[in-house]
Symmetry: C2
Subunit: 375 residues, 2 copies
């Protein structure tokens, strides 16, 4: 791991102390009480607003300083995750103020994508950024384009992405960073559950030994369904958890045979629920630096480590090469694997076809048209 | 604490070992691997379905056995929390099957209420239960009517509730249990935050040193707003957290003066987010046994303990009497208070007026009409 980023004091400290190498830090708002400590662990410091830059920038003059910029453009299926949502607090929007601090910064962060699986859509967004900011980009040394570019999906034209990134980097003379986000574990991880009871209430409901809130909380927050594959069989069931929450339902799925108590079900693509809070980062050789933008939840660290290991294995098998995978020792990999707690998380076979999905939104194989906001 | 309930192995064990006294256990679905251990810690065992009773009932014949029953009636503002939602897996719905096992059970659990602040609405529900189940209730020794009855709210006619419960208990010769739920901390707790930055993006947004996902996750899950009081002043702001989530927004509130960096804001009624996962239980002297139905999240235990202490103090000041408050020693109270972590949680003054609320749903002072399903 060559490069990582973070969004809080403890994360940047973890990144620096545990992983070493280049460590970025960004925060929606730094506090007086933490800024000195934050800066002491960072190689680049990114501010969310000119206000914050003016408050704390003088403390970081020995480092490259960046500013998060909001052009009101985005590609996101979820209002909750859309940095360009109405009255978004993320990123500075005032170009006049941005111009006034250009002599104090060497980079921009523009986080516009969420689950963007289309290189064409990404390229359109980047076109708009280049047009709107061309006069400023040429001043800079680096640009972070954030996460949300789903280039690990089967069939994604990653070479086209690399070409487009290289063109932008060459045009403006900047180093481009991307954040990995949850793309590092797309289709790598399943939540394995077993049927404990089957009840009938208008429809058949199979109650399993897990719970949405405990293990796939994002389904509740984003109002989504889990996924199984295949999912077009004759016997249909709601798959529901064993917590007391009435809405603890993973989704409605269909099976080849009637379910019986003890049957095991694989709920696909469960890794993002764990990785969502992780500190996983990596740099890839695609003409751009890439890293994982991290969030905080210590309790999920074991599972995150496991997800990291699975993805490293996937990468090592040739899907994407990592510049320095050896920087995580095989001993720490084994330790991470050993730390997995029940319910069992298993990696999906790399050669498996992309699974069929159910429900709306982020896990759907044909997601709804995202909002691509005009400049 | 005389009485408690639980919904998992570790909870029933905690209740038995830490609190002692009468301990109930209920689970949406027990597993083969846990049932013996569960029963060993319980004084009453409640099954969610006749299936589960038939699987495991023989192991618990030395104990009172209960069955959760679903009459398709409920009072809930939230589909997510409504046990009578379509295809609910909670509770046995087949009256013929229920009748077939009456000789093996001594109690029913009927969990029909969620944030029901109306004694009249509760009474209508209980009327329906009495009519539908009259032939069965007379066979039983006890009935748990679950939680969700908001009798700690200012002005709630608790005497009317007690009379209604007593009438039911006398009519059928049953001991009635209620679960306390989050009513133990209504209006007791605030999340104290400080303004770190103020940005303008169509509207003014104050970024504070907290995050919805970290400290008031229920707002995301239930799509609600936090609350402040008063909230009808001239200066309006979105109050947003410092996590990277675009939708990390507590709500839109108004203030008497323009906010400045460093201002402190009290987000009201924050306790339920912590208590939601707690194991707090108590028995009250209202003619019915009352207990807390617990969920699991160890990480919130400190805050739950704090919430317990605040509520105990409130009760001790005379709002509601506790049958045996001395069973929590003053030493354990002090320990719980000492365990509070930042952000600061403070008890609201008992004499304060009921605060103004914003947003729809559970924190509103005049909530929307709930769905009262017909029998």
């Amino acid at each position: 791991m060559d490069c990582r980023t973070s969004s809080s004091l403890n994360e940047v400290r973890l990144g620096k102390e545990k992983f070493g190498g280049e460590t970025h830090v960004y925060s929606v708002a730094y506090a007086d009480s933490e800024i000195d400590d934050v800066i002491s662990h960072a190689n680049k410091v990114i501010f969310n607003s000119v206000n914050q830059l003016e408050c704390f920038g003088a403390k970081a003059t020995h480092l490259p300083i960046g500013l998060r910029v909001n052009l009101g453009v985005s590609h996101s299926y979820f209002d909750l995750a859309d940095p360009a949502r109405p009255s978004s607090r993320l990123e500075e929007i005032d170009l006049t103020r941005i111009e006034s601090v250009m002599d104090r910064i060497s980079g921009f962060m523009l986080h516009c994508n969420c689950e963007n699986g289309s290189v064409a859509a990404f390229s359109v967004l980047l076109d708009r950024i280049e047009i709107r900011l061309s006069g400023l980009l040429a001043w800079l040394d680096w640009v972070s384009l954030g996460g949300g570019i789903a280039f690990t999906k089967d069939g994604y034209p990653i070479d086209q992405l690399a070409v487009r990134l290289r063109a932008c980097a060459d045009k403006f003379g900047v180093q481009i960073y991307l954040e990995l986000g949850d793309i590092v574990i797309i289709d790598t991880t399943a939540l394995e559950v077993s049927v404990l009871d089957i009840v009938e209430n208008s429809k058949a409901v199979a109650i399993v030994d897990s719970a949405v809130e405990a293990h796939m909380l994002d389904l509740l927050v984003y109002r989504e369904s889990a996924a199984i594959a295949p999912n077009s069989r004759p016997h249909s069931y709601f798959i529901a958890g064993k917590s007391c929450l009435a809405g603890d339902v993973f989704g409605e799925f269909s099976f080849a045979k009637p379910l019986v108590i003890g049957d095991r079900i694989s709920l696909l693509n469960a890794g993002s629920a764990f990785l969502n809070m992780s500190v996983l980062q990596a740099c890839l050789e695609t003409g751009a630096g890439l890293y994982r933008h991290s969030h905080s939840r210590r309790a999920r660290q074991d599972l995150r480590d496991a997800a990291l290991v699975w993805q490293l294995r996937r990468w090592q098998r040739g899907i994407i090469s990592i510049s320095s995978p050896a920087s995580i020792s095989s001993m720490s990999m084994r330790a991470a694997v050993g730390a997995i707690s029940p319910p069992i998380l298993i990696p999906k076979s790399i050669s498996a076809n992309s699974p069929a999905r159910c429900g709306a939104g982020r896990t759907a194989s044909e997601p709804p048209t995202p909002c691509l906001k005009s400049v």
